[in-house]
Amino acid sequence: MRIHPILAAMTRNKFGAILIVAQMAVTLAFITNSFALIEQRVAWSARPTGLDEANVFVIRASTESREDLEARRMGELAALRGLSGVIDAYLTNEYPLQGSGSSGSISLSPDKTPSMRTSHYLGDEHALHTLGVTLIAGRNFTPEEVTPHHADALPAARVLIVSKALADTLFPKGDALGKTVYVQDGVPSQIVGIVERLQGPNFAATGRFSTFAEDSTIRPSRPINEYPRFLVRVQPGRMVEVMKRAERTLLEHDNEMIMSVVSMKEARAKAYLGNRGLVVLLVSISTALLLVTGFGIVGLTSYWVTLRRQQIGIRRALGATRLNILQHFQRENLMIAGTGAVAGAALAVALNLWMVQRFEMVRMANSQVLGGALLLLVLGQIAAFLPARRAASIPPALATRGG
């Protein structure tokens, strides 16, 4: 099959061909960038917190102020730990996937330089077990190290447990265990334990809070106040039932408590709701874009077939087979779509570079551009097939009639 007749036919319909090329180029530019974005967002939403998420829930409560706060909180905590189905529980200040939380600087010397940013969690000796995080070096807090903490500000801590990410940031040689660090006020704290992974309460994927997402510390303190947050870990499969019983138990202790109980699964869904929404919207727009482009090709190719009925008849009468005619239209489409793919790839890269500069956009991988281009070529072939088959069925006799 020679290319010449295809080119000759195409030059008679320049505008239509140019339209398809342009349409395919724009489509390619947008779907490849959408793919890149979707891939990035899905990866963000899937970041693990390090917790035993399936079996952990949080009770956020508020009560009236009272004198014997510490005794009350300890009583409530003991009651929660004693519930059947509960593995462990502790009082925390914040929890992963919460949204915003306290963070501050941590440095290697008392004069604050150089300093890194980290999230600060409070917890007692039950914290690691409740969270279900893995201790990879050092030890847990001892009950003697844990202090009650009454106000908003961070308590001073002599010992700290840090996430591996933070340990590696502070001590790139991997010798963080036992080292002394300084948190905010210049008080020295010793790193006694390192956990494999513990995400901070900020789940933001971009912006200044995302730079230390995996960097967190736990201080040996038990927050004692009128707005306690209990973190509870349950035996697998008993979540729903234990959540209800835990709420009832706390009400028995203090009938004025106002509570909201959230499983980590719900917290994750809520945290990434917007992200998921964006992914769904991008997927639907990309699909619609491909459909519209596909139907556009069907429409224009059909028109060309109608326009060239007579010529097709003549070629058939001169000995061209049905396959020849089918191939003519398929190849014509391949040429147009190929041009579109090349132009689209260039446009896609340009758009991506611009968006990287302008918005918080990810760099696109070459494989994504290539994949998108292939997808478009296949789409073109499928869209051209319907009208091409109609063209192939034009009888040679048509050539002798009319004209």
């Binding site: 505008f15 239509g16 339209l19 398809i20 342009a22 349409q23 724009v26 489509t27 530019a29 947008f30 960038n33 959408s34 974005l37 508020s62 009236e64 915003s100 501050g104 009454h150 106000a151 908003d152 500000a153 961070l154 308590p155 905010q184 006020d185 971009t206 707005y227 106002i258 809520k270 709701l273 917007g274 998921r276 929404g277 964006l278 769904v280 919207l281 991008l282 727009i285 619609a288 874009l289 519209v292 482009t293 139907f295 556009g296 069907v298 429409g299 224009l300 059909s302 028109y303 109608t306 326009l307 968006m355 302008r358 918005f359 918080e360 956009m361 009319g402």
Partner: protein
């Protein structure tokens, strides 16, 4: 003539239902996607208080050392310390001013069947209501005397008034919040500035304040902050410690009607910061900022980058849809070269052909626009279920959107139809007649 062309257009469109359907669908999809994102964007970037947005200002004062050599926005906090806020309140250098912060109060309804809840409560000064033109259903804001007396008075949103007092005029009645009796002095009409410009630290597009109480009273009662607090150094662990600390957590707004007032206030702020240096509290040159509402919104960059990306994608989508429509229209019109030839041969002028096809594309645009409107409504409903609840308020279509959508569709389609129409105009009657035999 118009009605004749209109009829011709309908007939022509009916003759090739598949092509017509594809064209209308393409336009409708493009318009639907575009209008959905544009509606959300427009709501997000709207001026929350158009009458006064250039008269309301948020001051900022650098109150901690910065590593940067030159003063920059990075070294400024978006809120003030309690100390600075109180000093600015005392100085009263603006027409109206108010320090603000958000807290929560437990509302335990007298009706025991209703669940107890925590409600967003705004601690503010009496001038807050006048400054922001807050509309009242019953009563009014509290007085400056109430500020001075640290009075337990409250202004309720209409929702809370409906829930607790069944919508009655509750002014003068008592309501129990956090176990304390407050006297209701006013009930608001629905008032939800979007974005929630005066405090962007919690849900800029979400639910807003349900109750308002005097700032002085909230401080007395140690009502804790629901928001964000930035501390250069940890405060002493007590309520008084937080108040005396360099932690910034108080929002502050001033009303400055004229440009000269704003200039004066800038000078005043700088003076204030310089004084802090002479007293030894600051060890750096005075660095302050005063931004009006539009500048404040831009500075806080509250529109998520997702929205910008979606707008780009949907505009690209509309472009593809229109190119598509152009192609299909070309196919359709040129498929009828014979008809055009006949009409031309029978004496129709080029102008007549052009009007005929412009009307035909207009009809396609109208149909696409109406369908697109339907798709926009569906899109907004979908967006409502997909986006976090704080964005739900934004997903509304109003009359302007509706008319705008249809007009956009018609204009865009007619633009897309220009080239095909031009080609139709250029059809040579003799050639077309011969080819159409």
């Amino acid at each position: 003539m118009f009605s004749y062309y209109f009829e011709l257009a309908l007939r022509s469109l009916r003759r090739n239902p598949v092509l017509t359907g594809l064209m209308i669908a393409a336009i409708a999809f493009g318009i639907g996607a575009c209008m959905t994102t544009l509606t959300v964007f427009r709501a997000m970037s709207a001026d929350p208080i158009p009458a006064k947005s250039h008269q309301l200002f948020a001051p900022q004062i650098q109150n901690s050392a910065s590593t940067e050599t030159k003063p920059s926005d990075e070294s400024l906090s978006t809120q003030l310390t309690y100390l600075d806020a109180m000093a600015l309140m005392q100085a009263h250098a603006a027409k109206r001013q108010s320090a603000l912060y958000l807290t929560d109060l437990a509302l335990r309804p007298p009706d025991a069947t209703q669940k107890s809840t925590y409600e967003f409560t705004r601690a503010a000064f009496s001038e807050f209501f006048g400054m922001f033109d807050v509309p009242f259903q019953y009563g009014s804001g509290w007085s400056a005397q109430d500020d001075a007396d640290h009075a337990a008075v409250v202004v309720l949103s209409s929702e809370i008034n409906n829930r607790v007092f069944h919508g009655d005029n509750s002014v003068g009645r008592s309501i129990t919040l956090d176990k304390e009796a407050y006297r209701v002095v006013g009930v608001l009409k629905t008032w939800k500035p979007i974005p929630h410009f005066y405090d962007l630290h919690t849900l800029p597009f979400g639910e807003s304040d349900e109750m308002f109480i005097p700032f002085s009273h909230a401080i007395d009662k140690h009502l804790i902050l629901n928001g964000s607090m930035a501390c250069p150094a940890p405060p002493k662990p007590s309520w008084e410690g937080t108040l005396q600390s360099e932690c910034s957590w108080v929002q502050f707004w001033v009303e400055l009607p004229m440009k000269a007032d704003a200039d004066h206030y800038r000078a005043f702020l700088n003076n204030y910061a310089s004084e802090q240096r002479t007293t030894g509290r600051f060890t750096w040159p005075a660095h302050t900022q005063l931004r009006d509402v539009p500048q404040w919104l831009a500075y806080n960059a509250i529109i998520p980058s997702e929205v910008n990306i979606l707008i780009m994608v949907s505009l690209g989508f509309l472009l593809v849809c229109l190119m598509n429509a152009t192609g299909l229209m070309l196919a359709k019109i040129m498929g009828r070269a014979g008809d055009i030839g006949v009409r031309r041969a029978l004496g129709a002028s080029r102008r007549a052909i052009v009007s005929q096809f412009l009307i035909e594309t207009g009809v396609v645009g109208l149909a696409g626009g109406l369908l697109g409107l339907l798709l926009t409504a569906v899109g907004l409903l979908t967006a409502r279920s997909l986006l976090p609840s704080e964005f739900v308020l934004l997903t509304h279509l109003d009359a302007i959107d509706t008319v705008g959508t249809v007009l956009l569709a018609i204009t865009a389609t007619m633009l897309a139809g220009l080239y095909p129409t031009w080609r139709a105009m250029r059809v040579q009657p003799a050639w077309a007649l011969k080819a159409a035999q």
